[in-house]
């Protein structure tokens, strides 16, 4: 009998416990019942209490799950173990195998935490986790970030676009923690800084979200915004080899759309109406004759009098195809996981494609009895084509092409091969042709490859003691090129080119190459020890070094040899070339420690710390120390509570409390704290005979003033949690409350103007304080009845962000002290003025009938920014409350899943370029149906939108920030609905398949909301027209 190397202290405890009962084994007699207890997966369960009902006889299973108990035939045996459903069995007096099924996977489940795993039941920090199942991978999800939506309380996931290659969701844990980079740290298989959106969803095994200081403290200066731990699949625990393959095909349709008015004559009347507000008829750009002519001739001559539906031309049905094959296998000595996947995404916008290929291979082997080692390699490769980074238009004043494209432009004439331009009398030659814009102009191509490698060696010299060294390399290479194709605007009416080149003849070739790598070395020691039976210790210490390097090289050349060539060598190398190159590095050194102590399985203690040294700070200020502590109390284990708990069906209950600090160094640039000189070349002028020679000479300026006190942003967080399980763990609940205070947010400082010109940018300082408070709930009901199993999960979180300190001067705006960051700060509208009388009765604001009227709240006789009202409970950028209801049920091979997801607590102005009634320029304007149909006129007084106006008006009533445009962005969305059927019949085995599942799934099927903007889930900008997508999937999973 010897100790078996064990993974957790609990097992050590159980193993030694079995020894104390070993005496029983040697006193067998015929009235003994022998047997073995296993879990649902056939793994032996040690420490199960076996009791003869109605007698005092009791036994406990040993390390291999075996037991012997004195019993008579006909006695009833009761098997009990925490976390498993009790089983009763009649004594048969022959060897029996009893299977205990887990009452809830949640309880004995191991949860991945930073630098290790912990039993969920012993957790004292706030950790939310999910296991990725078929149902999640069956959704048409182009990336992992989107998949997390609605799954984990406290993690706000918001989809911002449906664009192929750029449709990742933004992730925010427990509200906006800082006004600097507030993104959580993503750690994949122990490696931080992996792009979550480039992982193959099918390779993900589980996701943990570390929300409080105690759980994230081991990530120290990187964990202030919370941590998302992703664990990919491996062959661990595999017996034999399993191969699975899946394929799915998705069609995407926009959830909402830009309602372009594809009728030029009608559109011109809109600009006429808009201009009529401020112009005499003679100076209106488009004449009635032009409109009538277009109206008539467009019916017979669509080439010269087109009514182009641009929206139709530049959109298509999106597609998303996914293919995966994976194999897993193993035995006692070694195991492996191998997977390849391909995703092919075609966006709803033409010329927007994203293809990604993923591969993952991992292999672990026991090379000696107490030494194991392993490698893991993953790689991905993508090709991405797009026009504007944000989709149809850029987020800015340029790239408004879809909004400057009138219907009276012919996209393309296949006969002549010409692209159309402005034609109507009075139309500006600056009119856009979005077809050219996407086909020939703005052609961005990104080819990216990433490779990640990991090797480790693990050594168990003594029971409970484990040492492990990990080395990671994360390499990425990205090549970006752009070579727009020269094209000119043609006027088909005049039969000649306009003076407008969409893309000039001399368009450049742009190439940019970027590569980056990161290395990380981690050495870790774990020691588990049980003292005096009931005192369980777990000690972890780790040391880590991280190093980042990025290198950029870019160049462009004019005078290319042919428009279709796009590499630099395909253009003249002598004139008009530019090139740039630079690199940057960063280093971080960390010391990490954690001590867990549990007494009597009831009282749980944890202390953590991490000390980080970062190259971003100056010597002496490089190290930050981030400690935390947590306590837990499993009160249901107390004898004085147990009876009461049993009465109300409470099987497990635990209080948790934690407090600690974390840091964030994202607010500061890599070299900002270094005294480096800035290159400012100058000219030396000298005479060479009668010629003046001007040559560049090196110059340097010191533009740095170092704030030697600059340090990390610091976040302290208090967390209080209550976990309970009822009714044999059918119902589990988790509640959390937190109070998170970020202090010393790194902000640009300001300097006296005596210094500000030379020492620029001004040194950053640790200035503002931001507080987040919130509650989270996660309630799950899970039950199996016969062949029928179902699960319902409701999770919700509420967060409130308050800006507490901001030493810079704050104007009246949506950022203010003691208010949420970006709260709603709106003018009060009294609706649209119907008559002049309405205008006269309202405060003076330069309005006319058809305009929005604003209220003069302070009664000073005018409407100005002092009349805005603050809404302390609403923010424009984020909802305060996120919630989701998920459910699934399975019956005889059928499975059905759904997810309802929603949010509330956000209000936003829905006005954007689609609803804008101010036509800023009369010519080259795209007009939409809203502007044509829903704008106020004397004949359409009930219109939803105010009257059309033109030009740029400065009166407050034209401001978008009024309650007229303010909508509650609460929504409830049927996020996913899924139906599958699994063929798992004996006859499948005969044809060599172990199981086949076919399924159909739909995402974003229906939404209930009062929000009139593009999509309640997005935070959009004024010229954003990119909707989210509805996704319909058909797929097949096969296992061999």
């Amino acid at each position: 009998m010897c100790f078996i190397a064990v993974l957790s202290a609990a097992e050590v405890f159980q193993a030694s416990a079995s020894l104390t009962h070993s005496a029983l084994f040697f006193q067998q007699d015929p009235t003994s019942q022998e047997g073995k207890v296993v879990d649902s997966e056939g793994v032996p369960l040690p420490g199960v209490e076996v009791r003869v009902v109605g007698s005092a006889a009791v036994a406990v299973t040993n390390g291999s799950g075996q037991f012997v108990i004195k019993a008579k035939r006909g006695d009833l045996l009761k098997f009990h173990m925490l976390g498993y459903v009790d089983v009763e069995k009649v004594v048969e007096l022959k060897f029996i195998t009893v299977t205990l099924s887990s009452s809830s996977q949640n309880l004995n489940e191991l949860v991945v935490v930073g630098y290790g795993t912990q039993k969920k039941v012993n957790l004292t920090g706030a950790v939310a986790s999910i296991k990725v199942d078929d149902q999640l991978t069956s959704r048409a999800l182009p990336n992992v970030s989107s998949a997390l939506q609605g799954m984990l309380p406290g993690l706000a996931v918001n989809q911002t676009s449906g664009m192929a290659g750029n449709n990742s969701a933004t992730l925010l844990i427990r509200g906006l923690g800082t006004v600097n980079d507030a993104n959580p740290l993503i750690v994949v298989d122990g490696m931080p800084d992996v792009n979550i959106n480039r992982i193959n969803m099918n390779d993900v095994e589980s996701v943990s979200v570390l929300k409080d200081a105690a759980s994230a403290a081991v990530y120290g200066s990187r964990g202030a915004n919370g941590v998302i731990l992703i664990t990919t699949k491996s062959g661990k625990g595999a017996q034999g080899t399993k191969i699975s393959a899946s394929a799915s095909s998705t069609i995407q349709k926009p959830t909402n759309a830009f309602e372009f008015l594809p009728n030029y004559a009608k559109a011109l009347t809109v600009t006429q109406r808009a201009q009529a507000v401020g112009s005499v008829p003679a100076s209106i750009n488009f004449k009635n004759g032009t409109i009538d002519e277009w109206f008539a001739k467009s019916m017979i001559d669509p080439l010269r009098y087109p009514n182009t539906d641009w929206w139709d031309i530049i959109t298509r049905n999106g597609q998303l195809n996914n293919y995966n094959v994976s194999a897993t296998g193993g035995n006692e000595k070694s195991n492996f996981y191998l997977s390849v996947g391909a995703m092919d995404e075609k966006g709803i916008q033409i010329e927007n494609d994203f293809k990604r290929y993923n591969a993952l291979f991992s292999y672990d082997a026991k090379i000696k009895k107490n030494i194991s080692t392993g490698v893991r390699f993953s790689g991905n490769w993508s090709n991405y084509r797009y026009n504007y980074e944000e989709g149809f238009t850029a987020n800015g004043s340029s790239g408004l092409d879809i909004f400057t494209a009138p219907a009276g432009v012919t996209p393309y004439d296949p006969v002549t091969g010409y692209y159309g331009g402005a034609m109507a009398y009075g139309e500006s030659i600056l009119a856009s042709n979005p077809y050219v814009d996407y086909i020939n102009r703005n052609k961005n191509n990104v080819e990216r490859q990433e490779a990640m490698g990991n090797i480790y060696i693990e050594y168990n010299p003594l029971p409970g003691l484990k040492g492990r060294i990990d080395y990671n390399l994360n390499y990425g290479s990205q090549f970006t090129w752009r070579a727009d194709i020269p094209s000119k605007a043609y006027n088909f009416q005049l039969g000649q080119f306009n003076n407008r080149a969409y893309v000039g003849d001399n368009e450049r070739i742009y190439n940019a190459d970027r590569n980056n790598y990161k290395t990380q070395l981690t050495a870790k020691v774990n020691y588990d020890k049980v003292i005096a039976k009931n005192h369980e210790f777990n000690l972890m210490a780790a040391y880590s070094e991280e190093f980042w390097k990025i290198r950029n090289l870019s160049a462009n050349r004019e005078n290319r040899f042919h428009p279709l060539l796009h590499e630099l060598d395909a253009a003249l190398g002598s004139v008009n070339i530019t090139n740039n190159g630079n690199s940057s590095t960063e280093g971080m050194r960390s010391y990490i420690g954690r001590l867990n102590y549990s007494a009597f399985n009831k009282y749980l203690f944890e202390v953590n710390f991490r000390a980080d040294g970062s190259s971003r700070f100056i010597k002496g200020a490089q190290y930050g120390f981030f400690p935390s502590g947590a306590v837990g109390w499993r009160f249901t284990e107390e004898s004085f509570i147990k009876p009461f708990a049993q009465k109300i069906g409470l099987t497990n209950g635990k209080f948790r409390a934690s407090y600690g600090s974390l840091g964030n160094n994202n607010g500061i640039g890599l070299y900002e704290q270094q005294e480096v000189l800035t290159n400012t070349n100058y000219v030396a002028s000298s005479l060479n005979g009668s010629v003046v020679n001007q040559i560049a000479v090196p110059g340097f300026q010191n533009r740095k003033l170092i704030n030697t006190n600059l340090t990390w942003e610091k976040t302290t967080m208090f967390n209080l949690g209550l976990d309970m399980a009822f009714f044999a763990n059918r119902l589990t609940t988790e509640f959390d409350y937190y109070d998170r205070l970020t202090t010393g947010m790194i902000r640009p400082g300001d300097l006296s103007i005596l210094l500000a010109a030379a020492l620029s940018p001004a040194p950053r300082r640790n200035l503002g304080d931001l507080r987040n408070r919130g509650v989270e709930a996660n309630i799950t009901w899970k039950e199996n009845r016969g062949g029928f199993g179902y699960m319902l999960n409701l999770n919700a979180s509420y967060n409130r962000t308050i800006l507490e300190k901001w030493p810079e001067f704050l104007n009246r705006s949506a950022v203010f002290i003691d208010m949420p960051y970006n709260f709603v700060y709106a003018y009060q509208s009294s609706g649209i003025a119907q008559t002049w009388e309405d205008v006269y009765n309202a405060p003076i604001q330069g309005a006319a009938p058809g305009d929005i009227l604003l209220k003069d709240l302070n009664g000073d006789g005018r409407v100005d920014h002092n009349d805005q009202v603050a809404y302390p409970n609403f923010q424009t950028q984020r909802p305060t409350t996120n919630f989701a209801l998920r459910g699934n049920l399975s019956w005889k091979g059928f499975d059905l899943g759904f997810m309802l997801q929603g949010a509330t607590g956000r209000k936003d102005y829905y006005n954007n370029n689609m609803t804008n009634t101010r036509i800023t320029q009369a010519t080259n304007q795209a007009i939409n149906w809203n502007q044509y149909l829903n704008t106020w006129t004397v004949d359409n007084r009930a219109a939803a939108l105010p009257r059309l106006t033109s030009g740029t008006a400065a009166a407050p009533f034209t401001a978008n920030q009024s309650t007229f445009w303010l909508d509650d962005v609460t929504y409830l969305r049927l996020k996913n609905l899924q139906l599958g059927y699994t063929f798992n019949k004996p006859y499948m085995k005969k044809i060599g398949l172990s199981s086949v599942r076919i399924y159909g799934s739909a995402d974003n099927l229906a939404t209930i909301t009062n929000y009139r903007g593009l999509d309640p889930e997005k935070v959009s900008y004024s010229n954003d027209v990119y909707p989210l997508s509805k996704l319909f999937v058909l797929g097949l999973n096969v296992e061999l």
Binding site: G587, K619, A684, G699, I753
Partner: protein, 613 residues
């Protein structure tokens, strides 16, 4: 057996662990910037000191190479600061309202001072004490001298605009230090400036082989200029400057000191005016293939070669350098057909009458403004739109400006095109002159005077509008001549050597020597000197500073609450009027600038100038 196995493994693990740990970076937390140069390894060689000095020049140039903007504050040049570039971050298009708009100017001038202090202090503390040879010491001192010259010039600019200013003379390590600085009395700032110029004078070389780097005479000229300004403020007074008491004795001493410095500049270094001060050829009416010498002084090629040393100090620009360091004079001084100019600087109509007759050497009867549709308007004697009216005038007129039917070499983006004909108010289409077709000058909608600049506009293509390679004059000999004359005249009346110098400047315009009446009294001679300053230095940003130190705003623009001054064009149209019904305050606010209020909110010790309180 098991024990050995255990030990073997332990050793193995330990070794591999050590190997991994030792292979990683010891200097992990010491990541150096790959583009920025660490200042810690700087200040080792003379080359370091030189490149740091170039950094000061880089900042200095940005504040001083667009001094033409200040001509917008005087009466002979119209300056727009609209358009794609408005680098002078102060209001320049009004001579009556600018003193409160110079926050950015103030900030940028102190930027130069910060950079200069960085060089001066580091050379003094880190380099001079360890300099190994005499030669090394000398050249380091020379570099420090240049930095002090730049610092002195900058403080001179600051005090001439704001009066008393905070003085920063060392590197500021703790920004709090400057948040409590009081304004230093102008007298003390002046003394520091003189100390800088004196140091520079002592340490600079006699002649720097690099044209764009100053030598002794430049330092001396600036020391003289400082004395001249100090003398002017003491003589004419500066009532807007709180606690400044003018002193006649102070003025006299300063004038004499100024004269002495200027005299040395003129005598000791063998300097001469550009091309010997010869007028060169006037060329022919309406053509631009031959132009007077004065024109070539302000174009790069064949331009201000500085052979005679007229350019005592210049700010160089370079074409085709990265980052771009070109001048933009083509862009601001001319129109779209001449290298895509934006025509932001226009000579006013009133300038034309300042150009004297080469025959009489005196002013001519004022030009007759006339509408072109009046019969015979273009042939009437002395008509402003009759080219013949411009014959036999100061050669500098032809070199400085265009009147109707004068031509200018056209340029596309870079390529030379053909001569462009200037014809006021006919800013499109073509003119046929003697059977040759010329495109008409395009004015970019900014010309309302009837004249255009030729000065600073290249007569050849090849360089884009933002890519010029001209050396902008910061101090030139003609200015020194005239300042010398002004200084001696102020204390001793017209002196023979001073008159001779003014005449040398006049000779450039092919003007005869000053008549007896012009040198009969200090006042008459002062007028003659002012006249030369107007035509010789036009467009170089001197006039507004002259007007203020002479307290001449009322003389030029009329008394407070008066009609102000109308500016007109060659056709007799009014263009714009300034100072109409202007109260004293308007004038006072031109005489002294406003201390930036934003700075006063952070620094309670900073007082405001009287007119801005």
């Amino acid at each position: 057996m098991k024990q050995y196995y255990f030990i073997r493994l332990s050793v193995l693990m330990l070794l591999s662990g050590l190997f991994l740990l030792s292979s990683c970076k010891k200097d992990l937390l010491d990541q150096k910037s790959t583009v920025g140069l660490p200042s810690a390894i700087y200040w080792q060689t003379e080359a370091d000191a030189t490149s740091a000095l170039m950094g000061v020049y880089n900042a200095f140039r940005a504040s001083f190479d667009r001094d033409y903007h200040f001509d917008g504050h005087a009466e002979f040049v119209k300056v727009y600061n609209t358009g794609a570039i408005s680098p002078a971050p102060l209001v320049v298009n009004s001579p009556s309202n600018y003193g409160g708009s110079a926050l950015e100017t103030y900030k940028n001038l102190y930027g130069i001072i910060t950079h200069a202090n960085y060089v001066i202090e580091n050379i003094n503390l880190k380099m001079l004490p360890v300099a190994k040879t005499e030669a090394a010491t000398r050249s380091l001192e020379s570099i420090a001298g240049e930095a002090r010259l730049l610092r002195g010039i900058t403080y001179l600019r600051l005090i001439s605009m704001w009066g008393d200013v905070p003085y920063v003379g060392k590197i500021v390590y703790n920004p709090i230090e400057v948040d409590t600085l009081s304004r230093m009395p102008i007298r003390k700032v002046k003394d520091s400036i003189l100390a800088d110029f004196t140091y520079a004078f002592e340490k600079l070389p006699l002649k720097n082989p690099v044209v764009s780097r100053p030598s002794k005479p430049a330092a001396l000229a600036f020391r003289g200029k400082m004395q001249l300004f100090w003398a002017s403020w003491n003589k004419f007074g500066w009532p807007e400057l709180d606690k400044f008491t003018p002193s006649a004795t102070e003025a006299e001493a300063a004038y004499r000191a100024a004269a002495s410095d200027f005299k040395h500049v003129i005598q000791d270094y063998g300097l001469d005016l550009f091309r010997g001060g010869d007028p060169g050829q006037w060329g022919t009416m309406g053509s631009a293939d031959v132009l007077p010498n004065y024109y070539y002084m302000f174009i790069p090629n064949p331009g201000n070669l500085n052979a005679g040393g007229e350019m005592l100090m210049v700010l160089p620009h370079g074409s085709g350098l990265t980052p771009v360091q070109g001048d933009e004079y083509q862009r601001v001084f001319t129109g779209p057909l001449n290298g895509l100019g934006q025509n932001q600087v226009i000579p006013r109509y009133e300038l034309a009458n300042r150009y004297q007759s080469t025959i009489t050497g005196d002013f001519l009867p004022p030009l007759v403004q006339i509408q072109p549709n009046v019969a015979g308007a273009r042939t009437a004697p002395n008509s402003a739109i009759n080219p013949e009216s411009y014959r036999d005038r100061d050669y500098r007129m032809k070199a400085t400006m265009l009147w109707d039917y004068e031509k200018l070499m056209g340029q596309g983006e870079i390529d030379q095109t053909s001569y462009v004909n200037f014809l006021y108010k006919t800013f499109s289409g073509k003119s046929v002159i003697n059977g040759v077709e010329y495109p008409n000058f395009t004015d970019n909608g900014t010309n309302f005077s009837g004249y255009q600049f030729r000065k600073f506009v290249r007569n050849y293509g090849g360089l884009a509008r933002s890519n010029g390679d001209f050396n902008w004059p910061v101090m030139r000999l003609a200015d020194v001549f005239l300042m010398y004359a002004e200084a001696t005249n102020a204390v001793d009346g017209p002196q023979a050597d001073a008159i001779a110098l003014v005449n040398r400047v006049r000779r450039r315009g092919n003007l005869p020597p000053l008549a007896g009446s012009k040198i009969s009294s200090p006042a008459a001679f002062f007028s003659a000197i002012e006249q030369e300053r107007i035509v010789e230095l036009v467009g170089e940003g001197q006039r507004a500073f002259d007007l203020r130190r002479w307290r001449a705003l009322e003389r030029v623009f009329g008394a407070p609450y008066g009609d102000g001054k109308w500016f007109m064009d060659t056709h007799g149209n009014n263009w714009e009027r300034f100072f109409q019904n202007a109260p004293e305050l308007t004038y006072q606010r031109c005489y002294i600038y406003q201390i930036p209020e934003s700075e006063r909110t952070r620094n309670s010790n900073l007082t405001q100038n009287i007119p801005w309180r």
